[in-house]
C-alpha cells in the first residue's frame, strides 16, 4: 500500500517538474511511457536492455568470483594481505573512467575490454568486503572441523560458506548497483549497443524522452533483481540467525 503511495508521489512530483522545467527539459510521464511502448514494440528496447544485462551479469560474476577468492586469501594469510594491500588501495582509488579508457586503449573497443573494465572496477570492492569476512571466520569452528576431519567440500559448504554468506551478500548488493552504473558508462564510451549506447544517442540528439524511456525500464529491472533475487537470497542465508527450524 505504502509502496503504491510512494510511486504515486513520484509521478506527481515528476508532473510538477514538467510544469516548472518545461517538456523539452523534462518530458511528461505519459510521453515517456508512449516512447517506451514504441521502443518495446519495435524490439529495440529488449535488444539493448538484454545486451546491457548480459554485460552486467558477466562483469558481476567475474568480479565476484575473482574478488571473493582474492579477498578470502588476503583475509586468511597475512603475507598475502601485506602483498596485496597496496594494489588494493591503488585500484580502490583509481577512477572508474581511467580504468575504462585504459582498457579500451590497451585491449581495443571490444566486449573483453568492456566487461573486463567493469569487473576491474568492482573487484577491489568485493575483495575488501570478503577480506573482512575471512578475517571474521571463527577459528574455533575451524579447529572443530579439523579435529572431526571434515572433508574439504564439507568444510567449504557447511563451515566456511555460511560464515561468509552475509559478506558475500553485502558484496553482491553493493556490487550489483556499482556494476550496472559502470556498464552504462562503458557502453556510452565504447560500445555500439546497450542502454548506455542509447543514452548517448539521446544525449547527442538532446532527446530527453528517449533517454528516460531507456533509463527507467533499466532501473526497474535492476530494482526487480534486487527485490526478487538478492534480498530473498540474503534472507535465506541468514535464516538460521532467527532460529527458524
Amino acid at each position: 500500500m505504502w509502496r503504491l503511495v510512494s510511486v504515486g508521489v513520484f509521478f506527481a512530483c515528476w508532473q510538477i517538474g514538467v510544469e516548472i522545467a518545461g517538456p523539452r527539459n523534462l518530458p511528461a510521464p505519459i510521453d515517456v511511457l508512449r516512447r517506451l511502448a514504441q521502443e518495446a514494440l519495435s524490439g529495440a528496447l529488449f535488444f539493448h536492455l538484454g545486451v546491457t544485462l548480459l554485460r552486467v551479469g558477466a562483469a558481476f560474476v567475474l568480479a565476484m568470483a575473482i574478488g571473493a577468492v582474492i579477498g578470502f586469501v588476503m583475509g586468511r594469510h597475512r603475507v598475502a594481505d601485506r602483498l596485496g594491500d597496496p594494489w588494493l588501495v591503488l585500484l580502490l582509488n583509481l577512477p572508474a573512467l581511467v580504468i575504462i579508457v585504459l582498457a579500451y586503449i590497451w585491449v581495443g573497443l571490444n566486449e573483453v575490454a568492456a566487461i573486463g573494465a567493469v569487473a576491474l572496477n568492482k573487484i577491489p570492492n568485493a575483495i575488501v568486503i570478503l577480506r573482512e569476512g575471512a578475517r571474521a571466520l571463527d577459528p574455533q569452528l575451524d579447529e572443530m572441523a579439523g579435529v572431526f576431519r571434515f572433508p574439504f567440500a564439507t568444510r567449504l559448504r557447511h563451515v566456511l560458506a555460511p560464515q561468509l554468506a552475509p559478506y558475500f551478500a553485502a558484496a553482491a548488493r553493493s556490487g550489483l548497483s556499482l556494476v550496472w552504473k559502470i556498464v552504462l558508462v562503458v557502453e556510452l564510451i565504447g560500445r555500439s549497443n546497450g542502454v548506455g549506447f542509447k543514452i548517448n544517442v539521446a544525449f547527442q540528439l538532446f532527446d530527453m524522452t528517449l533517454l528516460l524511456a531507456y533509463a527507467l525500464p533499466f532501473v526497474g529491472v535492476m530494482l526487480a533483481i534486487e527485490v526478487f533475487l538478492v534480498q530473498p537470497l540474503e534472507r535465506k542465508v541468514s535464516r538460521w540467525r532467527l532460529g527458524a527450524a
Partner: protein, 242 residues
C-alpha cells in the same frame, strides 16, 4: 614438537611434554607448561586437574594436535579416531542438532543417531538450532557429536564448566555410561574435583603455572564402585598435591 605413532603395546596415549612457552607481544617468553608425562591404556579415563590458568587446556590442545609448538612428544596410534568435546560446544549455529552430529559422522545410520540422541536426552531437540539450546544441552550435543564418530580417544575440555550442579551431575553419569560401555580411552581436563574423582581411573594433578605433573593418583575402585569416604579421601589427596 613430535607426534609419534604408538606400536602394539597396551598404551593408547603417551604424553611426554618437556616444555611449552608462548612469546609475548614484545618477544618475552611466558612458560605455560613444564615437564608433564603420563600414559593412558585402552579404556582408561584420566583426569587432569590443577589450579585455574595452570595450563590444563593448553595440555589438552597439545594432545589434540591443535598446538604443535612445544618441546616433547605426543604418541598415539595412527589408526585411533580422535574426538574432542571443547569447553565451548562449537556447534555450527546454522545447522540443526542432528545435522551437527551427522556432519562429523556422515556414515551414522538413522537408528544409531536416534538412539544416541535419546541416550543424551536430545530426542526432542534434534531439529532445534544451537541458539535455541541451553549451554547444558549444547554440551550434550557436542558429546553426541564426539560419540557419533566412535572415538578410540576422547578428549574432554572442562565439559562441566558453567553448568549447575544437577546438570553437571547428569552429564557425568551419561559420560560414565558411554565411556565405560565403549571402552573409550578418555582424557578429561577439569577444575571440578568431584567430577574428576567420579569419572577417572587416574587423576593427574598439575602444579601452578608453568604446570608440572605434581602427582599421579590412581583410584582403586573407580566410578560407581567408589564409596563416598574413598572419594573424599581421593579429593583430599588431590587438594594436598596441588
Amino acid at each position: 614438537m613430535n607426534a609419534k605413532s604408538l606400536g602394539g603395546g597396551s598404551a593408547r596415549l603417551e604424553v611426554s611434554i618437556k616444555s611449552k612457552a608462548y612469546l609475548g607481544a614484545s618477544g618475552e617468553r611466558h612458560d605455560a607448561l613444564g615437564e608433564v608425562a603420563f600414559a593412558l591404556e585402552k579404556g582408561e579415563v584420566g583426569a587432569v586437574v590443577g589450579p585455574s590458568g595452570c595450563g590444563k587446556t593448553t595440555l589438552l590442545r597439545i594432545v589434540a594436535g591443535l598446538d604443535a609448538r612445544f618441546e616433547g612428544a605426543i604418541s598415539r596410534r595412527e589408526t585411533d579416531r580422535l574426538a574432542v568435546v571443547f569447553q565451548e560446544p562449537r556447534l555450527l549455529p546454522w545447522r540443526a542438532v542432528e545435522d551437527n552430529v551427522r556432519l562429523a559422522a556422515p556414515d551414522i545410520g538413522d537408528e544409531e543417531l536416534a538412539a544416541l540422541l535419546a541416550t543424551l536426552g536430545l530426542s526432542e531437540h534434534r531439529r532445534h538450532f544451537p541458539r535455541e539450546l541451553s549451554l547444558g544441552l549444547a554440551r550434550r550435543v557436542a558429546l553426541a557429536r564426539a560419540m557419533a564418530v566412535h572415538p578410540d580417544l576422547l578428549l574432554l575440555d572442562e565439559p562441566f564448566a558453567s553448568l549447575d550442579n544437577a546438570t553437571a551431575s547428569d552429564l557425568v553419569e551419561q559420560i560414565i555410561d558411554i565411556v565405560a560401555a565403549r571402552a573409550i580411552t578418555t582424557l578429561l581436563v577439569t577444575h571440578d574435583l568431584d567430577a574428576a574423582v567420579r569419572l577417572a581411573d587416574v587423576v593427574f594433578v598439575l602444579s601452578e603455572r608453568p604446570a608440572r605433573l605434581a602427582a599421579r593418583i590412581v583410584i582403586s575402585s573407580p566410578r560407581r564402585g567408589l564409596t563416598p569416604e574413598a572419594a573424599a579421601d581421593v579429593t583430599r589427596k588431590i587438594r594436598t598435591a596441588q
